[in-house]
């Protein structure tokens, strides 16, 4: 079966390095996970981890503003970064003879970001991020659903109570001192995993990594995540919110706390969502979209989150004339109904999961990200080599048990969007 060879090393400064050669094409993917995300933000500074990610592209001591993008694009590479609840990842994929360039750029901003920081750059990127917030959340139908649903699923003192994008007020309040402090606390080699996949010789690559990253000093131990990390297994009831907004169609979101990504129980949640909404023979599509015709579309997925509990989301979009109560009842009944899931449904879900997994790992950049994620969140870089076996080990009984424990009315947030009354 599928197996990717890799090496794992730790530099003296604590940087974890994963090297996974695959020389089929002359391309190398670099992926750098920092163990910091929105979960580490303190009150009054929501959205800061993401704003900080933007600042990482504003140049460092030896790289002027805009040069980072110019150099990578000019080398024929693609690049970006994303911030999420548990982490921030930076990545570039380039022709393999430009590996040194990627290492030089990433090490320069890991070691020497602050000398290049200015108020002007911060003001500029704060405007960019506020516009990102407007474009993706404020000016979009249903754009604030995650903000509302997270508040309902997680208590105020849990780090997943607030969104990654954060509040506009908090973003506007950030200053240069915040940037310096955040950098010193979280952007240290001992809080990062560097993965290289693709056209590389592991011994030579390790040598280059040592050369570029070795002189960056180890940071202090990262402070504990603020808040109470274990919110409890269930929400403890059904909480509801109804929003009238400028949306085209009624839609109902259901949210539940589920086991975190770090425990094997999470696989049952993953398979459950696949039974529910993966493909056109899935329960939700087959029954609610096709058979009953009450749904325009249906979605269900579980986020792979690590802090205490994770988060499962399902939604149903109705038609203009739909009764929202009927949408909610129908969706909730299908979730609860997983307590009678059949062997055949689980087999179908696993077959789809296998093809999807093989598609994902076929891309060097995605494979590199999976290595980093497994190492950072599970301490087990090689997890992707056993991922399919673990998924296949999920039994229908485990899915039924998961539904019993997690998908009942005692663990449910219901967020309903209704189109504004026409004037």
């Amino acid at each position: 079966m599928l197996s990717f060879s890799f090496e794992r090393h730790t530099l003296d400064n604590g940087l974890t390095v994963i090297l996974a050669p695959d020389r089929a094409v002359p391309v190398v993917a670099l992926n750098l996970w920092y163990g910091v995300g929105s979960r580490n933000e303190r009150p009054g500074r929501t959205g800061f981890a993401h704003l900080f990610e933007h600042m990482m592209f504003q140049g460092s001591a030896h790289v002027p503003k805009n040069r980072h993008f110019e150099l990578v694009e000019g080398a024929g590479g693609s690049l970006n970064a994303t911030t999420w609840f548990d982490r921030t990842n930076y990545f570039e994929t380039l022709p393999s003879h430009h590996l040194d360039l990627a290492l030089w750029l990433e090490s320069d901003r890991m070691g020497w970001l602050l000398p290049a920081m200015t108020q002007e750059k911060l003001d500029n990127q704060r405007d960019v991020v506020l516009n990102e917030r407007r474009e993706r959340y404020e000016n979009q139908p249903y754009g604030d659903w995650d903000e509302r649903l997270q508040r309902m699923v997680f208590p105020e003192d849990h780090p997943y109570h607030h969104t990654v994008i954060g509040s506009a007020e908090d973003i506007a309040a950030a200053d240069l001192d915040d940037v310096a402090e955040f950098f010193q606390v979280y952007y240290a080699p001992n809080n990062a995993v560097l993965t290289l996949t693709g056209d590389l010789d592991p011994a030579l690559a390790l040598d280059r990594v040592r050369e570029y990253f070795g002189e960056i000093p180890r940071g202090d131990q990262v402070p504990p995540i603020p808040g109470r990390l274990d919110p409890g297994e269930r929400i403890g009831g059904t909480v509801r919110e109804t929003v009238r907004a400028r949306v085209p169609l009624p839609r109902v979101y259901l949210g539940s706390r589920v086991p975190p990504f770090t425990v094997d129980d999470f696989y049952a949640a993953d398979v459950a969502t696949s039974v529910l909404s993966d493909g056109r023979a899935s329960r939700l599509y087959e029954r609610l979209v096709r058979e009953r015709g009450i749904a325009k579309d249906v979605v269900s997925y579980a986020f792979p989150l690590a802090t205490g509990r994770s988060f499962m989301i399902s939604w149903i979009t109705g038609y203009p004339e739909s009764d929202p109560a009927e949408l909610e009842t129908a969706l909730a009944a299908e979730l609860e109904g997983l307590t009678d899931v059949s062997d055949g449904e689980v087999e179908r879900a696993l077959a789809l999961a296998e093809t999807r997994f093989l598609r994902q790992v076929a891309q060097l950049a995605t494979r590199a990200d999976m290595f980093s994620m497994s190492e950072q969140l599970l301490g087990d870089a090689g997890r992707l080599n056993t991922e399919m076996e673990r998924l296949r080990a999920v039994t229908p009984a485990q899915v039924r048990d998961f539904a019993e424990r997690c998908l009942g009315a005692d663990n449910r947030a219901v967020l309903t969007y209704l189109p504004e009354e026409e004037a």
């Binding site: 003879h97 056109r280 598609r359």
Partner: protein, 465 residues
């Protein structure tokens, strides 16, 4: 281990190492007696096979008063066959781990799949069953129609899609298919009869102008044999249709304001009719666009985002189709800075067309496009999609193999010449979806042209001058 050479961090970016060539395996083409074209590419290291059937049934082949017919028919294609209903078909494929997707664009309807190599025969059996005996049951027609009407409603309330749709409506005359939304309008979709869906499928889902494309660990002969064996009973010819005319540029610049009361951002589109897809001048368009707005470090993005913070991002691009294409600049900006952003965008656009790119910019963009090329050819589904383009646009089989060479041959002069012939900032339409109460007066004061205000639901609310 010792370092081969000491790091000189201050000396600037390191020199690249020795370049390793990227080889794309050849594309092999074979035509069946009745015209079905089989394209294959062999990648032994890939455990998956990806394929698609490309049908000459794009939305431009729908009758003028039945906009959305091709999209609707494509959506219903997997709605049942003579021997299996929709649920049974989906179940059979998904048990194999296969999602069969049908997507309809302007120029083609494409049925695509990715499967483990050892399940390819089982997959193709179902694909062939769909092509030979889809029945388009009444219940599926009605269900999919409702979904499509709801999706059209969703598009009208999504500011970015609304602005793009209104740009097409503005640039193309009502007689041209591109005037309407790809999936039609509420009235045209409501008017479609089941008999028209069946007749469309009968006339368009035919092998003589279709492509069968497969990428994976299979030799060309194996792919041809698989096509023969599985698609033997799929026969017939598509009917011929009148040619679609190329759209002309307008004499005066259209300026359209689509009213979205209270919107916190304005979706801006600056666009014009562009060239149809062909090899002529293509490399110049690609490199020229990368410098203007097709990369992160483009002039537009460095100005509007990295200098002014007006937006999360701005892009420009050529949509290239069989008939007229489209050039557009698109961005979403905070309502308060809409006019400033528009002025900066026009400043960059006009300056670029007047003087062309610098030599450094061209070198940077050429290296970018040539370098990222292999990243777009990495996986079996990506390769299958690229090969589908060869078939749809009648490009030579070596098209991709010569792409980087063509890109590297582009010069500042050739870009300036080609773009100057095609783009005209003074006749480009401007479409803004945003709060007209805030924007109308300053937009008129900008003097770009007569401002037409439309309501978000498509009606014209009034014209001012």
């Amino acid at each position: 281990m010792s370092s081969p050479d000491p790091l000189r961090r201050h000396a600037g970016p390191p020199e690249p190492g020795a370049i390793r060539p990227f080889h794309l395996p050849p594309v092999v083409s074979h035509s069946r007696g009745d015209g079905l074209r089989v394209l294959s590419l062999t990648r032994p290291e890939i455990p998956l096979a990806s394929g698609c059937i490309v049908l000459d049934a794009g939305e431009t082949t729908a009758p003028a008063d039945r906009g959305g017919l091709a999209v609707l028919a494509g959506d219903i294609l997997t709605g049942g066959t003579e021997s299996r209903n929709a649920a049974e078909l989906a179940e059979a494929l998904e048990r194999l781990g296969v999602s069969l997707r049908v997507s309809t664009g302007w120029d083609a309807t494409t049925m695509s799949f990715t499967t483990l190599a050892d399940r390819l025969d089982d997959t193709l059996e179902v694909v062939a069953e769909v092509l030979e005996s889809a029945v388009f049951p009444e219940a599926e027609v009605e269900r999919v129609r409702r979904q499509r009407l709801a999706a059209i409603r969703q598009r009208r309330m999504d500011p970015g899609q609304l602005a793009s749709d209104e740009l097409n409506r503005t640039l193309f005359s009502p007689e041209h298919p591109y005037h309407r939304g790809l999936s039609g309008e509420t009235e045209s979709v409501e008017a479609i009869q089941r008999s028209e869906v069946v007749s469309f499928a009968h006339r368009r889902y035919r092998p003589d102008r279709a492509g069968f494309i497969l990428v994976g660990d299979l030799a060309a002969e194996q792919v041809q044999e698989a096509a023969e064996r599985h698609l033997e009973r799929w026969t017939g010819q598509v009917d011929t249709l009148p040619e679609i005319s190329e759209e002309k540029l307008p004499e005066a610049r259209p300026v359209v304001l689509v009213h979205r009361p209270g919107a916190v951002q304005s979706e801006i589109r600056i666009g014009q009719v562009g060239p149809a897809r062909s090899l002529e001048g293509e490399a110049e368009l690609d490199v020229g666009n990368a410098v203007l707005g097709g990369s992160f470090t483009s002039r537009l993005n460095l100005n509007l985002r990295e200098k002014h913070g007006f937006t999360y991002g701005v892009r420009s691009g050529f949509a290239r189709r069989r008939h007229s294409g489209l050039f557009s600049i698109g961005t979403a900006v905070q309502t308060e800075v809409t006019m400033a952003a528009l002025q900066e965008a026009f400043f960059e656009f006009r300056r670029y067309l007047a003087h062309g790119p610098d030599a450094d910019e061209v070198r940077q963009a050429r290296d970018y496009l040539a370098g990222v090329f292999p990243l777009r050819m990495e996986t079996a589904p990506q390769l299958a999609a690229r090969m589908a383009e060869l078939h749809i646009f009648g490009l030579p089989l070596e098209y991709h193999h010569g792409y980087r060479e063509r890109i590297r041959a582009v010069t500042t002069e050739s870009i300036h010449r080609v773009l100057g012939r095609i783009l005209d900032p003074e006749r480009c339409a401007v479409v803004i979806a945003g709060d007209a109460d805030e924007l109308q007066a300053p937009l008129e004061a900008l003097g770009l042209g007569e401002v037409e205000v439309r309501s978000g639901d498509g009606a014209t609310a009034g014209v001012s001058s």
